[in-house]
Symmetry: C2
Subunit: 540 residues, 2 copies
């Protein structure tokens, strides 16, 4: 038997067939008891930690022990997770389902930021990077041109939805502290006409740039909102062609220099939910923060891309986080994961991760097209702490469903503006609360009053960084991208397509036709369930 054949076979093994899966199933019958006196010790918190780049991951408050960690490491090896990460980063065709029509593409968001220390040797990766470099150069020139001495524009509207909105918006909000003076950024995403109307109200359009983002150049919401915006420019006596910028696929219907000030390109090897570091986020972020800060985001992401290739589990932060997530999901059987950043600036980061994780791993067939017989991607949700503590933490402490938690915290604040109030800085109060929740959820509390009993054993881990700046934010983004990819690799599903969004689009187009028909007084039974809903609507 050649070396290649067994490898081929294991690559297509189902998650349930791995040896480590059986070991872990056994271990899950008696998970580590964090509530037992002495079990959550100083030493445990010290030891169950990992460091890489500017981050530390503390996972002593997870329900694991050395046996579980060892088996998770075995599982990572059996499932060839590092090899698959290498294959992704060098540009193998991994976005596919064998034997069935599929996208059949490479997955190269990492190539968008492979401009620094650790150049990938893969030919596809290098081709992608040279394309990315070209767009970066074009962007730099463009910014100098529009932003010259005159300072022609101070507003920018990003028009896009899904990956063209959530990732870029999360990054922008995370880094608003670093915004250039006299810059104001707005977003239009929803086809709800009130989204565009609210943004465009009172905006000085003569000083406004609009970045329209759609890879295909055919996204319903985005094209509709583009026309909405163009109508507003026209009403203000302005030529929209002089204000709109296209970010789209080369040769798409939007790649038309007569209608846009400039076109920036993305390619089919950049998935929407992995596109924030491509031109999809670059134009807006560079305008808001300056081109150099955008480059810092890329540098941070690039560093984490490299960490994701690290063979030592204790230095590969996204891998260790992915494997603990697999333990919680497939062996302790928890259906959701809460992402709780103790940083108000990360307010929209959970919404980005909802897309990145749930659209990647919310799948029901494996890469051979077989329905899976185990759980794939969990439901992702979350809000910043300490706010959440005054909201849903009651439920995560004392509710009947256990919620695994991924906390995120930073040693320093962004604005460097803080006061000692009653003996401590606000930043210290913030971090005290983070640590308190982590310990409290794990240890629980006994009481004679049943309403004051906290069952504990609520697993959680903390990702700690020094300060949320552009570099760190790039790393944080890539940390989650790779955590998600590793989990998809482990389940042997295709994390890079999204067939599950198609049915809704098809049905919506049929109903749109019914609306148009109704407005013209035409009834019909072409889509009876939808007609019934329309009648309910009209009776209001």
């Amino acid at each position: 038997m050649s070396f290649h054949q067994p490898n081929q076979r294991t690559e297509h093994m189902s998650f349930r067939q791995y040896k480590a899966t059986h070991v872990l199933k056994g271990l899950a019958t008696t998970p580590y008891d964090l509530t037992k006196e002495g079990n959550l010790s100083h030493e445990r918190i010290e030891r169950y930690s990992a460091q890489a780049g500017d981050f530390k991951l503390l996972f002593g408050t997870e329900r694991i022990n050395d046996d579980v960690l060892y088996a998770l490491k075995e599982l990572a090896q059996e499932a060839h997770l590092l090899e698959k990460m290498e294959a992704m980063q060098r540009g193998d065709v991994i976005n596919k389902i064998d034997r069935y029509p599929c996208e059949n593409r490479t997955v190269l968001h990492t190539a968008m930021r492979d401009l620094f220390l650790h150049e990938n040797k893969g030919k596809n990766a290098q081709n992608a990077t040279s394309k990315a470099r070209k767009e970066c150069d074009k962007l730099k020139d463009f910014l100098l041109r529009v932003d010259g001495k005159k300072g022609q524009f101070d507003h920018l509207i990003q028009v896009g939805i899904g990956g063209s909105d959530l990732g870029p918006r999360a990054l922008y909000m995370a880094l608003k502290a670093y915004q250039l003076p006299n810059r104001s950024i707005h977003f239009i995403s929803n086809v709800d006409p009130d989204d565009a109307a609210a943004v465009l109200k009172n905006l000085n359009l003569s000083r406004t740039l609009v970045v329209v983002v759609s890879k295909s150049g055919s996204t319903l919401e985005t094209l509709t909102n583009e026309e909405f915006v163009r109508a507003k420019f026209k009403a203000a006596g302005l030529d929209s062609n002089k204000h709109l910028i296209a970010v789209t696929g080369q040769g798409s219907p939007m790649d038309n220099r007569e209608r846009y000030l400039e076109s920036f390109y993305i390619w089919d090897f950049i998935g929407g939910r992995y596109s924030a570091t491509s031109m999809v986020g670059a134009v807006m972020l560079s305008f808001a923060l300056g081109f150099d800060q955008y480059v810092n985001i890329l540098k941070g992401a690039h560093e984490m891309d490299h960490i994701a290739l690290e063979k030592d589990l204790h230095r590969n932060l996204p891998l260790i986080s992915a494997m603990i997530g697999i333990w919680n999901r497939n062996f302790l059987h928890y259906p959701t994961v809460a992402i709780l950043p103790y940083s108000q600036a990360l307010i929209r980061f959970p919404a980005h991760l909802q897309q990145c994780d749930m659209e990647s791993n919310g799948k029901r067939v494996d890469k051979l097209g077989n329905p899976v017989d185990f759980d794939t991607g969990p439901i992702i949700w979350g809000e910043p702490g300490t706010n959440g503590q005054h909201s849903f933490y009651q439920c995560i402490h004392q509710g009947t469903n256990v919620v695994p938690i991924e906390f995120i915290g930073f040693r320093e604040s962004q604005y460097n503006e803080d006061y000692i109030i009653k003996g401590t800085y606000s930043q210290e109060k913030l971090l005290s609360n983070l640590f308190a929740q982590s310990i409290g959820l794990a240890k629980g509390q006994k009481s004679d009053n049943p309403n004051k009993v906290f069952p504990g054993n609520r697993p959680n881990r903390i990702l700690l960084g020094k300060k949320l700046d552009p570099f760190t934010m790039g790393s944080l983004l890539a940390y989650y991208e790779h955590k998600i990819a590793f989990q998809g690799f482990c389940w042997n599903i295709n994390s890079f397509d999204q067939e599950g969004v198609q049915l809704g689009k098809i049905l919506a187009n049929r109903i749109i036709d019914r609306f148009a028909a109704h407005r013209q007084g035409k009834r019909g039974e072409k889509f009876p369930e939808a007609e019934a809903m329309l009648r309910h609507l009209e009776s209001l």
Copy 2:
């Protein structure tokens, strides 16, 4: 046996002991199959609907049939849900756990808006309403005073957390289309110093009012942020006492007219998460929208309070929604609920409902103090559509966990600004997508390509309104408050306390002390797990 005794007993029956519970358990073995050809018919959508006030609830896309509906109605009767709602609204002491120390309070948020058609006859309710009326009058006078001809203030910052933030903020964002000219509203909630720093940057404090909201007058985050804000006023050479307004309990440490321009009162019979229609939301909302629009919110809420007392299940929208939720939670065993409003203005409404629902019903003991042996409140999450369609809908269509969905939609847009683009208005496209998702999730899709198979049978319902305005928003808020209360009544848990937040507070205070000690160079082993976390932090 008197009439009273059996009633007393059943009031304390456990959820699992009801006859209807057993019937429903049986019915849940073969839930209605929405994917079967012809099963999701025009007639079903027509018939499985309910109307009250300005709303329609469509629930033909739930996995129910007449037998299930009948049994749910029986369950509502056995569990005395209407009697319990009456008891709440008239002011019985229902916030309690028998035999254990507890808050022992009435629950009278409905009395805050009982100023209109259907006056409650309960003595406690009437007392509460007369207090509310007094505060409303005070607010009206106050607004005339500060807002006179001079127009002294155009910015307002709401400082509060949890219920003092989420509900008011959700209402404000929902109704921003109705904002008065030259009004600008900001929020500071998180103890993260960057939250305050970001808001206060570039704000003209001389024209800024600050509403500080804390019922106890002792909330860590809020008092800290108040001092933060006061420091900024001082640095700007302004007297903060002339800009700050207190919303607090009478006699609390914050009830001090020397330090505040005015004090508005709340009482211990208003839970934080049910306080948006009290002075907690009133001051900010009246400043932003005008006092009359605040009154319209109250009118809408009051109408829904009255609907929640309706004996006919098909007219009691919150009750029917609550019972279908119980079916999904306790009989079909789904751990989460997604709230998906097809209205960008409702972007923060799911975050409010996260608190309102999960803090109310994320409980593990019943009202006798016995640990429950069934599931209580689910995990609540959600984002507006159509945005979510380009994010997590992949997972809700094809993921391995089923997510029950509560859609919300409106016939008309808020700004009345819409264009026909490719044959239809944006509002029509929005609603087409809403209906398409509801039908697609229910019916699913067959395919020879396993990756294009949609299993369907993903239960969902749609709440439809005419237009999101202050009145409707008040109704929508109360609809959810009562849905949540009904579910708590059915599970016989106390939905009005929050013991689960206490442990974190105690531990955080201990760690805050360690931070202060570290800063002074003092180490110690007083809280070894926390010390280990601090050392990790310091090593970054």
